[in-house]
């Protein structure tokens, strides 16, 4: 499942969520983001035990600032509401699957 995450629902969708959330920081003007986007969304659709969220950095500058996002795409993995891994740039699906596996209980 993929959720649109913004500054209003961040607490509910990410911070207070048990388990794993993979958060994809992106923008419409970012070419690499358009390649990574579908990879991350596919993980949301097919992998058990992880929720995928998308953050549009143009619309949510406070969230980007809060997590130190200065380059996109950036993907942050949250476990029980806490950021545990941060990946900058386009990576293959396998890279994210390995991270999810590492933090899965």
């Amino acid at each position: 499942m993929t959720v649109q995450v913004n500054e209003t629902n961040f607490a509910q969708e990410v911070q207070q969520k048990d388990g794993l959330v993979l958060l994809d920081f992106w923008a419409p003007w970012c070419g690499p983001c358009r390649i990574l986007g579908p990879i991350i969304e596919e993980i949301g659709d097919t992998v058990e035990g992880v929720t995928v969220g998308k953050v549009n950095v143009d619309e949510n500058p406070v969230l980007s600032e809060q997590f130190g996002v200065r380059s996109i795409p950036t993907v942050i993995l949250f476990k029980d509401g806490q950021p545990v891994e941060q990946v900058v740039g386009v990576r293959a699906k396998e890279v994210f699957l390995a991270l999810i596996e590492k933090y899965k209980v």
Partner: protein, 305 residues
């Protein structure tokens, strides 16, 4: 028995993927060691307007994604691993990644080049935290902030001009007292009132806490040090070939490019080359793709004996 591939291709930019498409269609069942981030330098560009076949141009990442899908369609095996070291002294050739070892009868090296870094420790510490090599990727995070661009060539001029769309002030910091950029590009930058030039200076340290807050500069004539407050530093000091895994395994020139007499063969029989890693002259997507095609055809001949 260990699994020996007919052909391993290192790299997944236009050179590596074109080689892959040709080799896969020739039934060489290539394995592609695509790197952790695939697609090469075009992944960080915007519109590519000079690659033939696209009337209105095409986004670099989209072009690379297309090449990747095309390569997969012909049955190429892609692994997203980065080759750390090689052994070309015996056959089959050995390629080592962080997690695996691959054996191959022939190899195409298409690792390309990477934006040059200053090579100071603090630059690494602030990577992605204010230090960048890609204005088009990261520029928008510097709205109303102050940034510095390091370099004096065309790309430094281009990046600086681009960054003025967001930043309140852009410094260009250059080691010399003149630019080597083309006249047109220089004038565009010099006439932009948001751009300030800092001549004859080099960065000795990047300063900050979590993010960059400034740069320590040294005057290249007097040696005098000074500090400049900036929120970001963009490097535009050229590129260097990615030949680290091949040092001692094949002949490299003094600038670390792979030596090739005809643009295809290397000093090792059975190891071929394509793209920017052997080309410091043209460095275009289309020339890299052309070299990839040539390398694949030569591999086919080589394997046929």
């Amino acid at each position: 028995m260990e699994d020996v591939r007919k052909l391993a291709i290192i790299g997944s930019g236009p050179a590596g993927l074109t080689a892959t498409i040709y080799a896969a269609r020739a039934n060489l069942s290539p394995i592609v060691l695509a790197g952790i981030e695939f697609g090469g330098q075009l992944m960080t560009t915007t519109k590519v307007e000079n690659y033939p076949g696209f009337i209105e141009g095409i986004d670099g990442p989209e072009l690379m994604n297309n090449m990747m899908e095309q390569a997969k369609r012909f049955g190429a095996e892609i692994v997203y691993e980065f080759v750390r070291s090689t052994d070309f002294s015996k056959k089959p050739f050995v390629l080592k990644t962080d997690s695996n070892e691959y054996l191959a009868e022939s190899v195409i090296v298409a690792t390309g080049s990477t934006p040059r870094r200053l090579g100071i420790e603090s630059e690494q510490r602030f990577w992605g935290k204010g230090v960048s090599t890609c204005a088009t990727c990261d520029g928008a995070f510097y709205k109303d902030k102050i940034v510095a661009v390091i370099g004096g060539g065309d790309s430094a001029m281009e990046e600086s001009t681009f960054l003025t769309k967001f930043a309140s002030k852009v410094y260009i910091i250059h080691r010399r007292d003149e630019f080597k950029a083309s006249k047109v590009m220089q004038e565009r930058a010099l006439n932009n009132e948001k751009i300030n030039i800092v001549w004859s200076s080099e960065v000795v340290e990047v300063v900050g806490d979590t993010f960059v807050t400034g740069l320590k500069l040294k005057d290249t004539n007097t040696g005098e040090e000074s500090e400049l407050s900036v929120d970001g530093m963009f490097l535009a000091i050229g590129h260097e070939p990615m030949t680290e895994p091949f040092v001692g395994q094949m002949e490299l020139d003094p600038r670390k490019y792979i030596v090739t007499e005809d643009g295809v063969h290397t000093s090792v029989d059975g190891v071929f080359v394509a793209g920017d890693v052997a080309d410091h002259v043209y460095q275009q997507a289309i020339t890299a793709a052309g070299m990839g095609c040539k390398a694949a055809i030569m591999v086919e001949k080589y394997l046929a004996g």
